[in-house]
Amino acid sequence: MSPTHHIPHLLGIEGMTEKDITPFLDLAESYALLSRSRNAPRDVLQGRTVINLFFEDSTRTRTSFELAAKRLGADVVNMTVATSSVNKGETLLDTASTLNAMHCDLLVIRHAQSGAPALLSQKVEASVVNAGDGMHEHPTQALLDGLTIRRHFGRLSGLKIAICGDIAHSRVARSDIHLLRAMGNDIHLAGPPTLLPNALGTLEGVTLHHNIDDALKAADVAMCLRVQRERMGSGLVPSAREYFSLFGLDRRRLALAKPGALVMHPGPMNRGVEIASAVADSPQSVISEQVEMGVAVRMAVLDRLSRMKNPA
């Protein structure tokens, strides 16, 4: 295998600066408008091959990447690999050599193990896009969250953003924190101590709360993260009803945020656990818009990586 250091990847948000992030958001914004008017340019990725390599079940993200690639005219292949047979590094590298031999251009990977996309990126000649790895990063989710916020406030800086839920097990939280910090926001994380690592409190611009009300006070954005049912009764949280009672985003708590504060959720939601239906379905909710921006952001990511790899 040839050295691949010149190949551009999107493995995570950590280390990216405002200058790295903004071009993705700008391009995504234009793709959002083109998608709405059904005028996406079909020739951008014409002749390029995108493989969606999903080692973990996902409908939303995989569909979003597939649509993004198709709207830009790429040839798309979806590979969903049963989780049970592939959590060994050896198999992952074997898969890498196989894919390499097929000469694909862009490889979108989701894997249950943190660091799997990074490992793969060392062994393939395609550009690798991390579509979520373990509890590590989910960079396109952070970009789409950033874009959604920027469209509403006209800026992505100087905002008070509350992120509530299972921070400890969330790759979305990590990528969002990196991105929102890089852009210069005031981040407030809330959750029970079992789901909120103390270590995050040492980051500049990040404040931890075990009382969600404190995190939400005067917030511009209230972002809920999914608290998986598996966490309930596992020793981390006693029950869904206790979680909702102490940490669920309901109308009373949302009223603590600024009037018109955005309600966000990366999905899939557990209604009545981390978020009340009345809040999820309220006019303040931009949850559907997040999904829409997801396609636009992924178009922008595939487009930019492809261009960086093959300069015109």
């Binding site: 101590p193 009764g233 596992s234 981390l236 006693p238 029950s239 009803r241 009672s245």
Partner: protein
């Protein structure tokens, strides 16, 4: 307006440090004057003749087997035993059947306590579902319902990772986790402290270090998580040393002991006396002395009755098969007075210290406080006689002993709820 005037009483209020003769006025259930000269008209006059008037005792660890095994002790019978022991505030363990692991059950215990009209009863909530040591109980909801702390009662949490999670989770609730420090696998099947005597008796044994091992583990986890923990019925010097060192380091830890651990030793099980079968088991003399020293130097924060009811059938069995535990409400004060502490210090461990530890507004003689009072004669003797003690359970390890500190009267919210035999009501 109903009022009671106590005169010629030795007022001891550990919260303020007072120990001197005086008088005290109670009006409408509250303490309204300390050292008033004359009784108001129509006040009931109680002549103390130099007896001690102190705050009603606060017992931070008792078990009444309601719900589930009311034949041993229910909340009514337990409350009667409590007031006979001068106790007016009680924290009840949650490892009943069913365990107090549901907000509705917390409300149930509180309502049953109020119905007695004798004592303030405060339930602990289960730390894990069913107090079984597995999944976390809904401690946030239980606290909202009124649980004053969390514990699995007589069981220790075996799984270290689970313990870590429980302590981490409890950390944000501003509550205290009450622990029975005994390594469960070492203790399993054992009924006596490992010693030459237990070997001779042929009893299955538990090494004394089973306590220190658990204390060491949980102190580390408390330091890691920042949780506030409290060790119950500490019975060994080794565990006390660890706790003293942890307090020095700023770890949020407190502990109590129970009267048997400073007044008795393994010698008391000599004739296979099942009434002296306790959990943790009675220790050797060196540990008993260490507990006395811990009481004197302040390492031990409170004394609790550790009241554990058993009926005759529970105890009339071969030693290893008999149920562990002894009653302790009626003898709490008398045995504590044997510890050789100044009276003010002894009463502190039975009143304001446990009240503060649990955040309860009790255990003090201040003006405006509820008139929960205990009137006792420190030098007057009485004989503990199993079978004729107040309350349902009679399994006292102190059967036959002569104790000082006979309780004359107990008042709860200004009402006389106990009067000793031979005194006019």
């Amino acid at each position: 307006m109903s009022s009671i005037f106590f005169q010629n009483v030795r007022l001891i209020d550990p919260a303020s440090g007072r120990d001197s003769m005086g008088s005290l006025l109670v009006e409408d259930g509250l303490i309204t004057a300390i050292d008033p000269k004359d009784p108001p008209k129509n006040a009931r006059l109680i002549e103390g003749n130099g007896a001690v008037l102190c705050p009603g005792l606060v017992d931070m660890r008792a078990r009444f087997d309601e719900p589930g095994a009311e034949y041993r002790e229910n909340i009514d019978s337990g409350a009667q035993a409590a007031v006979a022991g001068g106790i007016t505030t009680l924290a009840l363990l949650p490892d009943t059947d069913p365990a107090i692991d549901n907000p509705a059950l917390v409300h149930y215990i509180r309502r049953r306590g109020e119905e007695t009209g004798l004592v303030s009863i405060h339930p602990y909530g289960a730390l894990t579902k069913g107090c079984a040591g597995g999944d976390m109980a809904e401690i946030g909801l239980l606290k909202q319902a009124g649980a004053i702390g969390f514990t699995d009662g007589a069981r220790a949490i075996a799984d270290t990772k689970q313990m870590r999670n429980l302590l981490a989770y409890s950390g944000f609730l501003d509550t205290v986790i009450i622990l029975h420090p005994e390594d469960p696998s070492l203790a399993k099947g054992g009924c006596a402290t490992a010693s030459p005597q237990a070997v001779k008796m042929g009893l299955p044994q538990i090494p004394a270090c089973a306590e220190a091992m658990m204390v060491a583990r949980d102190l580390r986890l408390a330091a890691l998580t920042g949780a506030r923990i409290h060790f119950s019925h500490i019975s060994t010097g080794e565990a006390l040393s660890l706790i003293a060192a942890a307090k020095q380091q700023g770890i949020r830890v407190t502990c109590d002991t129970a009267p048997p651990y400073f007044a008795m030793t393994e010698a008391d099980i000599g004739d296979f006396r099942t009434y002296a079968k306790l959990s943790p088991p009675l220790r050797q003399e060196a540990d008993r002395r260490a507990i006395l020293a811990g009481l004197a130097d302040g390492t031990i924060d409170a004394i609790a009755s550790d009241h554990s009811p058993a009926d005759a059938d529970d105890k009339r069995l071969p030693f290893a098969q008999a149920r562990a535990g002894g009653t302790g409400l009626v003898t709490l004060l008398g045995v504590t007075l044997q510890a050789g502490l100044p009276l003010l210090d002894a009463l502190r461990l039975l009143t304001i210290a446990p009240a503060r530890l649990l955040g309860l507004p009790a255990g003090t003689l201040s003006i405006g406080a509820a008139a929960d009072l205990c009137l006792f004669a420190p030098e007057e003797e009485w004989v503990v006689t199993a079978g004729s003690l107040p309350g349902r359970a009679q399994n006292t390890p102190f059967d036959g002993q002569t104790l000082k500190g006979r309780i004359h009267r107990t008042f709860y919210h200004g009402r006389e709820v106990f009067t000793a035999e031979g005194l006019s009501a």
